[in-house]
């Protein structure tokens, strides 16, 4: 393990790897990635592979729009096939409130140059005959949304990192920081200490814990979600289907399995046990929307987590309390979509040492300033804790 690195990236998930890759590409010097388990062991490879720009906040739409462009050429850029499929994403709404959200989002997306369309019932039936029209009040579709294999994306970034000389340390846990004044000087790990001039916190659901070790307070919380796959069928389902309630997500892999997931909505623990209640709820809800699914068998299920913030939008940029400590977390379920663009923008900020306009709204200071980026498609919307959360205090807890 390196004794000294220019930048230490905490977290070997898709976000951390993307940041590390973009940093070395910009030539910032030695970059070391610290991962407590194996690469991609967190939310990166537990999600449903969807890539979309159908968001409800302008800032998120802008970011996702750029990320989609990068995904488009990522296989060529990284020299590794990420199994990208441009099948579109369909967002569904059942209640009048959800329908209103969709309609509002589509208007906003269109204004920002994203060609999302509301589908009328006739179109919905003609193009997606497997969906139950009785349970769907509104549907929006963007044909430029896509999906890619999450394992392949993690592998693609990690191979590129390795090629460019990034040090990837797996099974290396962060134990603390050496902080002097308003700067981190070294990261203490289970395998020794690394001196560094900048640190990126891309630790997913552990980001809050990691930040606390440096005296930085983040409002993030882990939210449990679970996923499942069915037996493989002949390929028929190109789009990713996302129902706003949950959100519940469903699509088909290139092996033919239907893969889907649902946020629990109430469980904030980090336990990764599969639950019978997920199997029951997911099946019930999915069959309601997609009646023929009742003839499919659930083959495997697993659990994962979202790192959610009070406004459902990511925390990006330098911490207020510690200036050389950059955050890339709190993605609230959209880390996979946003990883390519966040890696690129954050590397730019770190390399140049100054802010980028598209990243600035996401700075951690927004919670203190009350400038929230409210994302209505994130699971966080329905969480009661969001409104009652105390403001992030600037006084550092004892170390």
């Amino acid at each position: 393990m390196l004794e000294k690195a220019e930048v230490v990236v905490i977290g070997g998930g898709v976000v951390g790897l993307s940041v590390a890759y973009n940093l070395v590409k910009r030539g910032v010097g030695k970059v070391s990635v610290l991962e407590r388990r194996y690469l991609g062991s967190g939310a990166s490879t537990r999600n449903c592979c969807g890539i979309r720009s159908q968001f409800g906040a302008e800032e998120n739409i802008r970011l996702a729009r750029e990320s989609k462009k990068i995904f488009q050429g990522l296989t060529a850029e990284l020299g590794f096939n990420i199994l990208h499929i441009k099948g579109g994403c369909m967002m569904l709404a059942s209640t009048p409130e959800e329908a209103e959200i969709l309609e509002r989002n589509v208007r906003l997306q269109n204004r920002l140059g994203v060609n999302t369309r509301l589908l009328n019932p006739g179109e919905l039936r003609a193009r997606f005959p497997y969906l139950n029209p009785d349970k769907i009040r509104a549907a929006s579709f963007d044909p430029t949304d896509s999906k890619a294999h999450h394992d392949a994306v993690v592998m693609a970034y990690s191979e590129a990192c390795r090629r460019l000389g990034v040090e990837l340390n797996t099974y290396t846990e962060v134990k603390g920081f050496k902080v002097e004044g308003k700067a981190i000087r070294a990261v203490k790990t289970s395998r020794g200490e690394v001196k560094c001039s900048r640190v990126v916190n891309a630790a997913g659901v552990w980001s809050r814990q990691v930040a606390r070790m440096a005296g930085v307070n983040l409002p993030n919380r882990p939210l449990r979600a679970e996923g499942m796959v069915t037996e493989p069928f002949h390929y028929f389902l190109d789009p990713t289907i996302v129902h706003l309630n949950g959100p519940l997500e469903l699509t088909q892999t290139l092996r033919g399995e239907l893969v889907g997931g649902l946020a629990d909505g109430e469980d904030f623990s980090l336990n990764l046990n599969s639950s019978l209640s997920f199997a029951e709820n997911f099946c019930k809800r999915a069959v309601e929307i997609f009646p023929r699914l009742k003839f499919a068998n659930l083959m495997r299920q697993w659990a994962g987590y979202f790192d959610v913030t009070p406004d459902g939008s990511p925390v990006l940029g330098p911490a207020e309390e510690v200036e050389n400590f950059f955050q890339a977390n709190g993605f609230s379920g959209h880390g996979f979509t946003l990883a390519p663009v966040v890696g690129r923008l954050l590397a730019e900020v770190i390399a140049k040492g100054k802010a980028t306009p598209s990243l600035e709204p996401f700075y951690p200071s927004r919670f203190r300033e009350g400038k929230l980026i409210v994302e209505n498609t994130a699971p966080v919307d329905r969480l009661s804790w969001a409104s009652t959360l105390p403001e992030a205090s600037s006084s550092a807890p004892s170390r």
Binding site: L83, F233, Y235, L254, G256, S275, R292, N297
Partner: protein
Amino acid sequence: MQGERYSPRIQEHPILSFERGRKIKFFFDGREIEAYEGETITAALYAAGIRQLTESLKYRRPRGFFCAIGKCSSCLAQVDGVSNVKTCVTLVKEGMDVRSQKRKFSLLGSLVSAALKRGLFPSVGGHYKKLVGGPLVWPLARRAIKAMAGFGEFPEPNPTLGKFLPSETWEGDLVVIGGGPAGISAALYGAKLGLKVALVDENSRLGGQLVKQTHRFFGSKEYYAGTRGFEIGRILEKEAASYSNITVLLDTTVFGFYPGNILGAVQKIDFCKEKMVKLRAKRMVFATGAYERTLIFENNDLPGVMGAGGVQTLMNVQGIRPGKNGLIIGAGNVGLILAYQLLQAGVRVEAVIEAMPGVGGYFVHAAKIRRAGVPILTSHTILKALGKGSVEGAVVAKLDDKWNPLPGSEKELECDFICVAVGLHPSFELPYQAGCQLKYVPELGGMVPVHDQWMETSVPGIYIAGDTSGIEEASTAILGGRIAGLSAGLSLVKDREAEKLRSEFVKALEEFRDNPLSAKIREGKKKAQPR
């Protein structure tokens, strides 16, 4: 028997009698097939001479069933529009529309399959690194992959199907998974201590693999010696039914262990009519049995190459002959008993092949089939199965003392089916999910949950019995099941008599294994002990 015209359905059998239901008709790929009510789809098709049920995903090789008990997935077909139905455990019905799950024709898919067969594409994982360059490569490859993906169409079934009943919850003291000799015994002895017990099995009757055994058991009278296997199954089944505190859940498949000692299960009421059952109990006994191993040889996936247990199911439960002339691989007890059972059913046995220099099973069984004129070729192995679409013969060869085939010793044997009887490995999924510590113990057949003499695993309150605790036989499974059931009960209620009884069963097990043939088991059991 020898002179009579070959008919696949067994009419006369020296031991078993087959009561067939009403004669019915169903369709396979549009062709009308005759069957009898009570037969599985696979069995009825086999009787009609249809062995190929599906094809492999990548190379499109023909596939037929291997296990006949719903484990191997090579019998999947579309039934009344529902894809991926296990036809070996689904009963045939009048007018049923069964279709083999061949892929839709796609020129691209066929070209890729052909290219793969010739090794033109990089193998596993190669697509990540090879399919990267050029604007056309991935779009084209993606279309080909889509054309090849998956088994069966996404269901577009008959709208009258698919009744799902509201879920049910069963709560009690003890839940036993697996209704074979071990599981029934565990349930019985748990019930004797007054526990509220659920006995769960995925088949439509209790007895496990005993239902297909026609031979008389050895040992002492107390443990059913002298009684035929299927009769022991019936005795145990009846005894279980006589306890009011045992709830028997048949046609019920447990699909997962969840935190809080909860099991998720699905009960099949009819084809596509199912109910979810949640089982919550203070104690659990997993007696989930074993899987048949297969052997690596050329064309080992050819329809007609079947597991020994699969052949027994087809022949002794369904009453359908597996063919006219069979070859058996493996001269352990299963292979030897199967040879005799085939003879009973009027099927010729070409030979029994054994890689070891000696017969692995009991001498009596070997002597019986030798007397009937069946050659046992020791130090021999199978090199390949012959045939196009179905088994038509086999090539076997002699082995030298280093287990290598002797050049020039190859010979072709005639046969129209091949039974693979090379052992079993424990089914450990449920204990694994429950967090039980596993250990690889080759003497016991592979991965087994670590367990003590009271059959308790490393997770307190979870017990195992039967083949799950190591591949052995029905007599020891019964004893192990009794011990597990008593242990589960004794952890909840105090009973001096039961404690004494349990010690007696442990002693009886030791005595049963006190012979040279059980040396391996004794060794294995030692290794599977907790430290």
